[in-house]
Symmetry: C2
Subunit: 530 residues, 2 copies
């Protein structure tokens, strides 16, 4: 089964992934959890309905979109409440309706989105664009205001394929899986496979600067976007007449990563590539993380680059490998996954092999690679049964320049261990590199420990400590999860007060009544600029 064969999964609120294929924990894992002091928490609480729309606003929405596309029932609204961070899941389990939308609407075209935003702006009604709903940074939960969720699933068309330019115009509500299936019919692929692939959408990828597991070969999502259309309360913006231009700042890059705060992206023009003929994934062993890091840096800087390039640290390698013998006699070390897609991958595999062997790597063959490939979207499924058992499990990520990475990794790990140990719940911290560039790479951390009685504030303390460590070590607050509300203050510190004022000014122009994802990404202004 390839990526384009995967079905569009209808995510269920509060639990990740395809409900038909949940994961259960093996006995050994349950045993390991006991050692961390993990105990099963109480049962989950059902939500209670608490909010709605005025009849006037409700009538207005019905007039704009039609009655069948305006939903105010509890189930629909609860199903559009928050995203999939662990904190979101814990709040969901507690039946916390504080972030529930007052209604869910389903516009059917760009023009309907445009009309909706114009009207909501007039009525000062906040809107949260929603497609996959897979945010893990609080990107769907504006604070202090009633809002409606704008579900974009009806913007589901592959509008155009330009086979000469190798571009595809795709609407924002198309899920990643659906986009691949539509493109596969024409012989093309995007090559964008983030871990949220089963749930996330094209518009969400663009709005949050998503990055997929094949980024070494296909690039990040923001590098695939050559054009876009965005509805704003003041009208529509269309950008991208050429792949690259010297006509002023690249304003596409101001929209990408704006997380629904400047407008709702309704379609994007994306670079596409022919579907790969071959796909091969290999495992490589290195003696230590630093050795593996030097090896993958060598590939990132001097080439040749494989399509997938990942490196787990010692802890992640030990925990994630079902069969420790795979690493060769149980001698420890770290695992790298190296994937190749395209035509005639043989030549590139040989060249990459020479580099990795020269850097101390030991070839483990396709076994570990296939194991990784098969499980590549399954990791988030594991979180639900872990939470069921009373474990706290969450991920966070950052990126930096190569020279900063060793200290960045050490400082973040130290901060997480200290902050959670102080609360009596010493964690296990796993780390891997999943995205490489010539000048640097990303670091992705997974944290597992026992829940305290207040798991949300427990994690908040750990996260605050990790954010401070990232800033102190010079990393960026997010490589591909985005800012949302969770990273807002860290983001403001990262880019500085003048840059934030500039973003606030842009927002005031496009969204004068502050209806678009208020409180997400951009801190509210503390004073008016001159």
């Amino acid at each position: 089964m390839t990526e384009s064969d995967l079905p569009v999964v209808q995510l269920t609120p509060g639990r990740w992934g395809d409900p038909a294929h949940p994961l259960t924990l093996p006995p050994a894992a349950l045993q390991a959890l006991k050692h961390l002091g993990v105990r099963r928490p109480g049962a989950t609480t059902a939500p209670a309905d608490r909010s709605g729309l005025t009849e006037e606003v409700s009538g207005l929405l019905v007039e704009l979109l039609g009655g069948e596309y305006v939903k105010t029932d509890l189930e629909m609204r609860w199903g559009h409440t928050r995203g999939y961070s662990t904190t979101d899941l814990l709040r969901h389990r507690a039946g916390d309706t504080s972030d529930m939308p007052a209604a869910v609407v389903f516009p059917g075209s760009h023009d309907e989105v445009q009309a909706l935003l114009t009207s909501c702006s007039e009525h000062h009604l906040a809107v949260v664009p929603y497609a996959g709903g897979t945010s893990v940074v609080g990107g769907l939960a504006p604070k202090g205001t009633a809002f409606i969720a704008v579900d974009l699933r009806r913007l589901d068309r592959l509008v155009e394929v330009d086979e000469v330019s190798r571009t595809a115009t795709i609407e924002a509500g198309v899920r990643g899986t659906a986009a691949e299936a539509l493109l596969a019919e024409r012989g093309y692929t995007l090559g964008h496979f983030p871990q949220s692939y089963e749930g996330a959408s094209i518009g969400g990828y663009a709005a949050t600067r998503s990055s997929g597991q094949s980024s070494a070969g296909y690039g990040r999502f923001d590098q695939m976007v050559v054009g876009l259309t965005m509805a704003t309360p003041r009208g529509t913006i269309r950008l991208g007449r050429a792949p690259m231009s010297a006509a002023g700042p690249d304003l596409r890059q101001l929209v990408l990563g704006s997380e629904g705060t400047l407008g709702i992206i309704t379609s994007v023009v994306l670079r596409i590539r022919p579907r790969p003929v071959e796909r091969v994934f290999e495992g490589w062993r290195f003696g230590a993380f630093e050795e593996g890091l030097a090896a993958i840096r060598r590939l990132a800087q001097d080439g040749p680059l494989p399509t997938v390039l990942r490196l787990s640290d010692e802890v992640e390698t030990a925990i994630n490998l079902a069969d420790p013998d795979v690493l060769g006699g149980g001698s420890g070390g770290v695992l790298a996954i190296v994937g190749f897609e395209g035509e005639h991958t043989e030549v590139r595999r040989t060249e990459v092999g020479v580099v990795l062997r020269g850097a101390g790597g030991e070839a483990l063959g396709e076994g570990p690679g296939e194991t990784w490939r098969e499980g590549r979207y399954r990791a988030p499924y594991l979180r639900d049964p872990l939470l069921d058992e009373g474990a706290l499990v969450e991920t966070l990520e950052t990126a930096g320049f190569w020279s900063t990475l060793p200290a960045l990794k050490a400082k973040v790990t130290e901060a997480l261990v200290a902050a959670l140990s102080e609360q009596g719940t010493p964690p296990i911290v796993l780390c891997h590199v999943s995205h490489v560039y010539e000048t640097g790479a990303s670091l992705y951390f997974t944290v597992i420990c026992a829940q305290t009685d207040e798991p949300i504030s427990q994690w908040q303390q750990a996260k605050t400590a990790a954010n401070a460590a990232i800033a102190a070590a010079g990393g960026t607050i997010s490589h591909h999860h985005g800012v949302g509300t969770d990273h807002r203050s860290a983001y403001a510190e990262e880019v500085g007060p003048l840059a934030i004022e500039a973003l606030q000014a842009v927002k005031r122009v496009l969204d004068p009544h502050n209806i678009l994802n208020p409180g997400i990404l951009i801190p509210p202004p503390t004073h008016q600029t001159p």
Copy 2:
């Protein structure tokens, strides 16, 4: 001689390049000009001094920077008047001092630039950042206000090389040639070789989204920038903690291309690469431009990419080739230049050769490649003797997606021919592709005809027609020259009124008294936004 051995050329106002090595026209060229109706114009006019600074402001600048770094003499000011478009050169020849700065100042550090901007903002004194002075789009000539030129040549340091991350921190006033020489001492290169290479600076490359002749291999300048520092009237902005990030919009891309209107970039962190061991340039012949276009598109989309990839059309091929036999028996056709840099270029040369031959190309060997390489920075030198003889010669460029390029080329050519023929001066129009991407490419036009008695308005009419043709055919108004004042209205039309309002809002935040390159790039607001 390699790129890093080239000297820093002190450009002389009104004529391009190294005055020690001017170009003269061969008799055959002079004969050809006669056929176009070209006649020698009158002698050039010396400038007359007309403006200065008030004593108060002059005293203030001296206090900030020291007397030796504040120059108000005519020669210095005349030497910082405008850039190098043909219109600029014609105005210079006419002794037109209307765009002359009131003073030229030379800050010596980021802190001095910052203090200068703070102070100039307080005193509402306009500033134009100036380093290479090589703008060809009116980027150095604000209208309707007295201003000072801020010459950044003293910001001339290679601040740091991070050999692990392969980045270099370089100050804005370092010329391209000097940057290469400084990096060559450490074994590195930027690989950025625009035609303005002998004169342009690092800060100018960044502020205008420059693109060099080796862009297929090294990328555009904006793709090399991973970090930057910019002084603004309201303080300093520092961006870039990682190669790529999902922490909001990529604000580096808002600064790149801002052409001095949002602040003065004082240093950038750039990706660097090891100096290439080998350099080989080859010529290839195709039967027609469309055939060549399909061939280079094949390389841009499926690889492998050479370092340099250019394709001249039939007219440019015929005119630029000194020896028509090079194309094989004078049988017409078009010339492509394909360059390779790096280690073991042999393998890649072979692979590229297979693709080009399969697409109908005929290998012409290294002769035409070396001829191009030797003359690669000389074309602008040719303009001065052509103007001396009474010819009008100018270039313009655009970019678009591959499927739009044939019509884009045809429409722009038609527009130029019609607009100049109407004035009794039928032109020759040359075109080449010099920058390729997966989804599209650039088109670069050279126009030659006889001057009328009013050559500035003569060209203005042609340029207006070309700009309209670019917009109608869906191209961008500039691929690498920038916007300046010449493309300002076309740029506003390209991105639309909401995007322009957003940029105006950013400018109001960073430059509340509109002192930074006023009138360049961003049209003045017609009304206040809510």
